[in-house]
Structure formats: structure tokens, C-alpha cells
């Protein structure tokens, strides 16, 4: 273990000592965790797994292995910016690491309360915070100075800000509503760091992405039946020039997708462990699955280069699983052990 750290240290020295006239030679690897898949798990204990791009090697608990400390309760999400990765932990800290070596570079530990996701725009970091989850009026987006790793200002927003996405120096925040419910997407101007507008969508918006048409796509899960007040889930497309809803594709009652990913013009979403997809110009959602994953508790998904990736949180106590499928034959290519309550998939 020590050896690995030492060799990494040596490697990092090499990297530092590489000067720009080495450009003709193939570039040195940036670290052990360059080029591959990163899977984070909420825990407990939370941890991060790395799988090499060729699927030949995998390593669990990479943050622990490098830094000899755990990642905390609960690891909500990761954010990537330049050569850094930001590990967002619910308990109120963000740990900054080198994204290729996973060496700890610093922490952001004050000014965050129940942080959820981080995005980057205009040279700054933007972190969604629930505040006190029982208080529906103290939620905010924290603005982070990425050099000093400090919170420099907070932007008050509606209840339960969840995912955050930056596009052309505008930041979009979906409000899932923390412990209750909400139905808005907030738009933040990153020059002035103020909330410019909110866009109403269906209940419980969570996952967001930008499709090939340049639309912001938002998946709202709707309120499930058990609340006694079931509302419809929907895929909503937002025109980012006007910040207005251009399309709403609603689901039937009883269908509450929670995950979404995008690849080659196909928008994928889930219903339980089943995967469905529609194209960019679809006028309605489909209820016919493409296939059903091997996951017991499908908890996260992502897509890249002809492959669909799924994480299984199983029973929330056992080690999670990562399943990799081919995006045309829908056959299982490979599967790996993943962290406990595996929830997010990133590509390094």
C-alpha cells in the first residue's frame, strides 16, 4: 500500500517536472485513476470504486487507499473540474482531491449544510444545500472560491435544491424538495450570483441533462401513490434561451421514473429495474422497456461510448454492483463490485 502511495508520489513529482517541451513524447499518465469509471456509494461506510476503461482492473475504496481516511456519511455526489474532483458529503463537507490520483488537496468544511451536488461555472463552484431538511425556507446554493476552497456567498433558493447543472455560465437547479416535495427549476446568473427565475415543472424534479437539440431535459418523478396525493411524473424540456418549458411528456399514474441518462440522441429512463428510451423528437413517453437490468435496486445510471452503466444498491447493506450493458444488443458486458449503496457513475 505504502509502495503505491510512494510510487504515486514519485509519479506526481514526474508530472510536475514534465516541462512543455516534452510534448513530442507520449504524455505521462496523470495518475492511477485516469481513464476509467468512478462509482461512488453513499454508504455506510461510503466509498469510491475505480474500474479501468478496458475493464481489466478494478479497485475499491480508492480514496481510503490513497489517503487512509474514510469519506464520510453520506457520500452524495462527486463533481469534476479541471484536474480536481470534489467529493460532496451530506454531513457538510466537500473534500477536494486530484481526480487522477485521488490525493486529498483540501476540504470545504464551513458554510455548507446538507450539501447535495456541485457544478462549476465562471471559475466558481456552485453547491446545492438543503440547510435543515425540516426547514423549508433556509435552502441555498453556496458559491465556492475554487482557489481558497471557501464559501464566498450564498444564494437563497426554494426548498430542496438537488441536482445542479451549468451551461454557458448559467446554473440550473432542480428542486426535488428534500424531505417534502417541490416542483421548480431555479436559474442562477453566475456573473451576479443571483437567482434570475424559477421554472415550474412536474413534482419532484431531480435528474437533468442537455440533449443534442440544446434543450435542458428535466426528469420529474411525480409524487408516488403512497403519499395519498399521487401526481404524474414527466420529462420536461426547457428552452434555455427563454427559460420556459417547451415540451412536457407526462407518464401514466403508477409510473415514477427516477433516473435518466442520454446517449447518441436517445434519452433513457427507468421504471424500477427496467430501462426505457425515447428519441429527441418523441411526442410521448413509452411504457415498453428495452430490457430489464440485473439490478435488484437500480439506483444510478450513466452512458458513454456505446455502453450503458447501471449501479445496484441491492439491499442497502451489501456491497453494491455495477452492471455494464451494450447500448444496442442490451447484453451484459461485465459486472463489478461497487460500494455500499452505490449511487453515482462518473467517467474520468
Amino acid at each position: 500500500m505504502k509502495k503505491i502511495i510512494l510510487s504515486m508520489f514519485a509519479m506526481s513529482l514526474l508530472i510536475v517536472s514534465c516541462s512543455s517541451d516534452d510534448d513530442a513524447t507520449p504524455s505521462e499518465p496523470l495518475g492511477a485513476y485516469e481513464d476509467g469509471i468512478i462509482v461512488s456509494g453513499e454508504g455506510g461506510p461510503s466509498s469510491i470504486t475505480f474500474i479501468s476503461e478496458d475493464l481489466m482492473t478494478s479497485e475499491n475504496q480508492i480514496y481510503f487507499n490513497v489517503n487512509n481516511e474514510a469519506t464520510g456519511v453520506y457520500l452524495q455526489s462527486l463533481g469534476f473540474n479541471d484536474d480536481k474532483a470534489y467529493i460532496v458529503v451530506d454531513a457538510g463537507t466537500i473534500t477536494v482531491v486530484n481526480r487522477y490520483t485521488f490525493e486529498k488537496l483540501g476540504t470545504i468544511s464551513t458554510g455548507l449544510t446538507a450539501p447535495r451536488y456541485i457544478a462549476f461555472a465562471n471559475g466558481k463552484g456552485y453547491v446545492t444545500n438543503w440547510g435543515d431538511p425540516y426547514d423549508e425556507a433556509d435552502d441555498f446554493v453556496a458559491v465556492v472560491d475554487l482557489t481558497a476552497n471557501t464559501v464566498i456567498s450564498t444564494i437563497p433558493v426554494g426548498n430542496g435544491p438537488e441536482q445542479i447543472l451549468a451551461e454557458d455560465n448559467v446554473v440550473y437547479v432542480s428542486h426535488k424538495g428534500a424531505f417534502s416535495t417541490n416542483n421548480i427549476v431555479s436559474v442562477i446568473n453566475t456573473s451576479s450570483d443571483v437567482l434570475t427565475t424559477t421554472i415550474t415543472v412536474n413534482d419532484n424534479p431531480d435528474e437533468m441533462l442537455v440533449d443534442d437539440n440544446g434543450d435542458l431535459v428535466v426528469l420529474s418523478s411525480g409524487k408516488p401513490a403512497w403519499t395519498g396525493d399521487e401526481t404524474k411524473a414527466a420529462i420536461t424540456k426547457i428552452d434555455m434561451d427563454t427559460n420556459t418549458v417547451s415540451t412536457t411528456l407526462e407518464f401514466s399514474d403508477g409510473e415514477h421514473p427516477e433516473l435518466m441518462m442520454y446517449l447518441n440522441g436517445n434519452l433513457y429512463y427507468n421504471l424500477g429495474s427496467a430501462v426505457l428510451s425515447i428519441t429527441d423528437d418523441a411526442t410521448a413517453v413509452t411504457s415498453t422497456p428495452l430490457f430489464t437490468t440485473a439490478a435488484t435496486t437500480l439506483y444510478g445510471m450513466a452512458a458513454k461510448d456505446d455502453r450503458l452503466y447501471f449501479v445496484d444498491a441491492v439491499d442497502y447493506t451489501s456491497a453494491g454492483q455495477l452492471f455494464i450493458y451494450d447500448d444496442t444488443s442490451y447484453s451484459l458486458i461485465n459486472s463489478f463490485n461497487a460500494p455500499v449503496v452505490a449511487s453515482k457513475i462518473y467517467f474520468n
Binding site: P45, N60, A70, G72, G92, D132, D135, E258, G272, T317
Partner: protein, 616 residues
């Protein structure tokens, strides 16, 4: 470690031991003074061990630590002073019943008792009954039951004990016990207050237990009044009010806070006839918790249950050697809380205990119970036990039983997820015990097998929330050994008490050891007294426990085995016929061991406690 222990034991065995018959303090207790007669009279084939009041009052420790160091029970404690759940013979916390003067006080919300919300001040004895006891004690007595007993003596006396202690992490404890009686009237009161910053250092890190302070106060008061030469009226009461910060993990701070309020009151009328002895009990129990996710805000979730019970029992001498004890009891539970509306449950139970003692050597017990409960069907429960005295020094005990655990309010009514279709967990078990007593040595060996089905487990369901289901099946088997040796040479007194348990507790589907059940657990207590001075050593070994169902080892999959030693010293400063002052010093975690009891939740470093006790 085990090998060293064995060598040690053999050395002890081979040493010459003087005669002194160890008397079980509880066996001598008169029916008048003990509320729970079943525990002594109708458990002949069970292993019952007693921790008496000298142990309880002289070294004031948490209930968790007391049992951890003196019994085979394993505790999963979320950091010192935090939620503490027992595992008795590899069963889970809701399969361990805590019995207060004969009635179960397990939470109706969670099905379990948090052992850090039990204050042992003013209990005359604590008995640990191993094995199934649902027939006699109801839901949850599967692995075993722990009995908190108050006794009322009508012998003329007036005794007081005041105890002050101060220790590491600004731990302050004050307690006062007073007991008075004349021929007609008996009263004893115990008051206790403890306050601790509990901000111990996490060894090998630069962190400390930042959010772990706790304080609690308790009242434990009991009254008895002789109405006539046939009737005795008794009132038992216990109040526990506690507030705890909930500490985080080594990598995450926490801001959570938890408040407990428990009130227990029981009125008991006993009547002595020529051939029978009957008792009527009425009781009210209230449990109430508040959980603050962030203690700096006023937002909290809560749960509250009121239990009302009425219970009638008689001990009837059918024949000279045949005793019958019928019990009828009615319980009404009403709950309220943030996560459900206002559910209630009614429970009517009938029990018959039969005891047959044909001669001095043989004791047979046969017990049956049937409950009628609103909301689900309860199984017919039975148990049998046999005790056979092979010789004066060798006794065999065998018992078998069918036990159950009923779904809790959380299981049934939690929104979302509560499942009204649940049935009780059922469990069959058999337990064979051997007792060897020779002079002042006693050795116990028990082997047990438990099979439990329809275990209630919360699982995420297809609609995206958690819901409990009767799914898992488990089997537990293992051996328990305990050894007691005491020896007196002139003014020197030595005693040794050791326990070892080997426990397999596996999921029958995966054949994997259940999480947080160590295969091996052992403890040893050595005490030495000379004139006014006494000292003790306690040593505990807890084997590795898995924290995930995969049974892998490593920091993310298991909690390492650990060994822990405590040391204590007591000196009698002053003693007359009516007054006594003792001072004592205790060192916990003598060797400053780095250990965790739950993954990523470090336990305290070496710490000290100084106590002064005044008896008058």
C-alpha cells in the same frame, strides 16, 4: 488469547480450593419481596445468572458496560453512551427482552431496548435468563431476557447510600439511595443523575467525539404496605429522562440530538392463601422519544407509546409436588408519532405454567401460552424444561421452546412502508446446560440451537420506499461457558469470574454469518480483597464482526477484534457500625487500546473515574 485464557483457567482449576457453597442470591429471595416469581420458580431447566446489588452499586458503570464485561451478551454501541443494542446468542436486539419486575419494557416502536436508557441504580438484582422465554415474558424473549428486579424487604431497617463520582470527559454522577421499612411499611428510593461531555479523543487521529455529550436523570421508587396477614400492596415506579447528542462517525461530524422520556408505574396486590398465592398487577408504561436532526433547530420527529396492562396470576399447589401457575393478561397499547397517526393494539394472553417436582433430583416444567392480538394471529407458544441433579455437584438442564416476536408499531404503521400483513417472527430452540459446582467453584456449560423464521426485515420495495417483510430465516447455534471461583485465605479474598461464548448466527439462504455477531466473545473478571482494600481487573475479548452480509474482512467490511482491560481500586476510608465511607478509582481502557464497536465509530481512550460513597 484464548489459549492464554485456557492455560490460566487450568492453573486456577488445579489450585486447591476451600469449601464455600455459592448461594444464588435470588433463590433465597422470599416470594414476598420479589415481584417476578416465575424467574426463580418456573425456570429450573434454564440458565439464570444473577448480578447482585454489590456489583451494581459498587462500580457504577453503564448498563451496557456492566453486561458487556460480566455476561456473554454482545453489544453493538454506536459510540460510547449512544444507542446500544444487545445480541443475545446471536439474535438481534428485538429478540432480547428486557423485563422490569416481571413485565416487558421493550419499546413498542422499535421492539428493542436501548441499554443506554436503562439506569441500574436501585435494582437489587439483575438476572440474565438465557434462552427462549416468550411463553412467560411475551414478545421478543428469543435469545434471552434480562430482568431488572426491585425487592421490598419488611425487615426493620433504615439505610442510605450517597455516591458522588467524577471522571474523564467531565463525567459527573450523583446518586442517592434510601431504604426504610418497619413491619408494615417498606419504601426504597433511588435518585441518579449523570452528566458527561463524553468528548473523548479518537486515538491515532486529531479528532475527538465532538457531538456525544449526554445527561440523564432517573428516579426509581418502590413502596410496599402490608394490608393484613394475607395481603400486601406494592407500588413500583421508574422514571428515566435523558438527553443525548448523537455522535457522528470518524469522518463525519453530526449535529443530531435525541431525547428519551420513559415512565413506568406498577401497582401490585398479592394475596396469600393456604394452597395458593395470587397477584393482581396493573401497570402504565410510557415511552417517548424526540429526535432532532439538527440540535440548533426546533424541528424534530417523535414517537410515543402508552401501554396499559392488567395481569392476574396465581400460584396453586395442585398436589404436594405439582404446581400450577395460570396467568391472564390484557395489554392495551396506544401510539402516536411523526411517522404514523395514532395506532393502537390490544393484546389478550393466557398462559399456564406447570411445575412437577417428583423428588429432590428431578424438576419438570411445561408451559403454554396463547395470545389473541388485534391485527395479526399469534402462534400457540410452548416451552418445556427439565432439571436433573445427577449429584450434589453436577446438574443437567434441558429446555426447549417455541417463541415469537410480534411486529412493532414501526413495522405495521410507519408511513410510508408499514406493512399490515406482517405475522410474528417464530422461533424454535433447544438448550442443554450442565452445571458443576464443587466447593467454591462453579462451572456452567450450555449448548444451544435456535431456528427462527419469518424474520421481519425492512427492504426497499419496487415502489421506491422501504417496507418490512417476513422474509429471512436464520439459525443460531453455539456454546457458552462460564466459570466462577472464589477463594479465601485468612484475610485475603480472591474471586474469578469468566465467560466465553462461541456463536454462529447465519442466514439460512446465504449461510453467511449475520452482521455484528462475533464468533468469539470472552471476558474475565478478577477481584482481590484484603481488609479495607479491594481491587479488580476486567478483561474483554470481542472477536471480529462483519458489517456487510458478504462476510469479508477489512475496514469497509468488518470491525476488528479487540481486547479491553479495566482496572479498579477501592478503599474503605472509614467504617463504624452505622457509617461507612469508600473511595474508589477506576481506570477504563487501561492500555489505551484503539478500538471500535461499530464501524467508523471510535470508542473512548484511557479514562479515569473517581468515586466516593457514603453509607449511613
Amino acid at each position: 488469547m484464548i489459549r492464554i485464557l485456557l492455560v490460566f483457567l487450568i492453573v486456577f482449576f488445579s489450585s486447591h480450593i476451600m469449601a464455600q457453597v455459592a448461594l444464588d442470591s435470588i433463590q433465597r429471595l422470599d416470594e414476598v419481596v420479589l415481584s417476578d416469581v416465575k424467574l426463580t420458580r418456573y425456570a429450573k431447566g434454564y440458565k439464570v445468572t444473577v448480578l447482585n446489588d454489590s456489583l451494581l452499586n459498587n462500580n457504577r458503570v453503564s448498563f451496557t458496560d456492566l453486561l458487556r464485561f460480566n455476561t456473554n451478551i454482545y453489544f453493538k454501541e454506536n459510540g460510547y453512551g449512544m444507542v446500544s443494542s444487545p445480541s443475545f446468542r446471536g439474535t438481534n436486539a428485538s429478540q432480547t427482552a428486557v423485563i422490569w419486575n416481571g413485565i416487558s419494557i421493550n419499546s413498542q416502536l422499535t421492539g428493542q431496548t436501548d441499554f443506554n436508557t436503562i439506569n441500574t441504580t436501585n435494582f437489587n438484582s439483575i438476572a440474565i435468563r438465557s434462552g427462549g422465554g416468550s411463553v412467560q415474558y411475551g414478545s421478543g424473549a428469543i435469545g434471552g431476557s434480562i430482568h431488572l428486579n426491585n425487592t421490598l424487604s419488611f425487615k426493620q431497617h433504615f439505610d442510605n447510600t450517597a455516591t458522588l463520582s467524577y471522571g474523564s470527559y467531565e463525567t459527573k454522577n450523583i446518586s442517592y439511595l434510601s431504604s426504610y421499612s418497619n413491619e408494615k411499611f417498606s419504601v426504597n428510593v433511588g435518585l441518579d443523575y449523570i452528566d458527561s461531555e463524553n468528548d473523548y479523543k479518537y486515538l491515532n487521529t486529531d479528532q475527538s467525539n465532538e457531538n456525544g455529550a449526554f445527561q440523564n436523570g432517573s428516579i426509581n421508587a418502590n413502596l410496599g404496605y402490608v394490608l393484613s396477614n394475607k395481603d400486601v400492596l406494592k407500588l413500583y415506579h421508574q422514571t428515566f429522562i435523558g438527553e443525548r447528542e448523537f455522535s457522528g462517525t470518524v469522518s463525519s461530524p453530526s449535529l443530531a440530538k435525541y431525547e428519551d422520556q420513559n415512565f413506568r408505574t406498577m401497582l401490585e396486590w398479592s394475596r396469600f392463601g393456604t394452597k395458593s398465592y395470587s397477584k393482581l398487577k396493573v401497570a402504565h408504561l410510557q415511552e417517548h422519544f424526540k429526535y432532532f436532526g439538527n440540535q440548533n433547530s426546533d424541528n424534530f420527529t417523535f414517537g410515543k407509546v402508552n401501554t396499559y396492562l392488567i395481569n392476574y396470576t396465581a400460584d396453586i399447589d395442585l398436589l404436594k409436588d405439582l404446581k400450577l401457575k395460570p396467568i391472564v393478561s390484557y395489554n392495551y397499547y396506544e401510539g402516536s408519532g411523526s411517522s404514523f397517526n395514532n395506532p393502537n393494539r390490544k393484546e389478550f394472553s393466557t398462559t399456564a405454567l406447570l411445575l412437577y417436582n417428583p423428588n429432590e433430583k428431578w424438576h419438570y416444567g411445561l408451559n403454554l401460552r396463547q395470545d389473541v392480538t388485534s391485527g395479526f394471529n399469534s402462534p400457540l407458544l410452548f416451552s418445556f424444561d427439565v432439571a436433573y441433579e445427577v449429584s450434589n455437584s453436577y446438574k443437567l438442564k434441558l429446555n426447549g421452546s417455541k417463541n415469537y416476536r410480534v411486529p412493532t408499531f414501526n413495522d405495521l404503521y410507519w408511513q410510508p412502508g408499514g406493512n399490515l400483513d406482517l405475522v410474528p417472527e417464530t422461533s424454535y430452540q433447544i438448550d442443554l446446560g450442565q452445571e458443576i459446582t464443587y466447593k467454591s467453584v462453579s462451572f456452567n456449560l450450555n449448548a444451544f440451537y435456535i431456528k427462527t423464521s419469518d424474520l421481519i426485515q425492512w427492504k426497499p420495495n419496487t415502489t421506491g420506499f422501504w417496507s418490512p417483510e417476513n422474509i429471512a430465516k436464520t439459525q443460531n447455534y453455539g456454546v457458552e461457558a462460564s466459570l466462577d471461583v472464589s477463594k479465601k485465605i485468612k484475610a485475603h479474598q480472591f474471586s474469578l469470574q469468566g465467560n466465553y461464548a462461541y456463536t454462529v448466527s447465519e442466514d439460512l439462504e446465504t449461510n453467511a454469518q449475520l452482521i455484528y455477531v462475533p464468533y468469539h466473545k470472552a471476558n474475565i473478571n478478577l477481584a482481590y480483597a484484603y481488609k479495607r482494600m479491594s481491587l479488580f481487573f476486567q478483561h474483554l475479548f470481542t472477536g471480529e464482526v462483519y458489517t456487510t452480509p458478504e462476510n469479508l474482512s477489512g475496514i469497509f467490511y468488518s470491525v476488528e477484534a479487540y481486547q479491553l482491560t479495566n482496572f479498579g481500586l477501592n478503599y474503605q476510608l472509614f467504617k463504624t457500625n452505622s457509617q461507612q465511607i469508600d473511595i474508589s478509582l477506576k481506570v477504563n481502557n487501561l492500555f489505551n487500546t484503539v478500538y471500535e464497536n461499530v464501524a467508523f465509530r471510535p470508542m473512548p481512550d484511557r479514562n479515569f473515574n473517581f468515586q466516593i460513597q457514603y453509607k449511613f
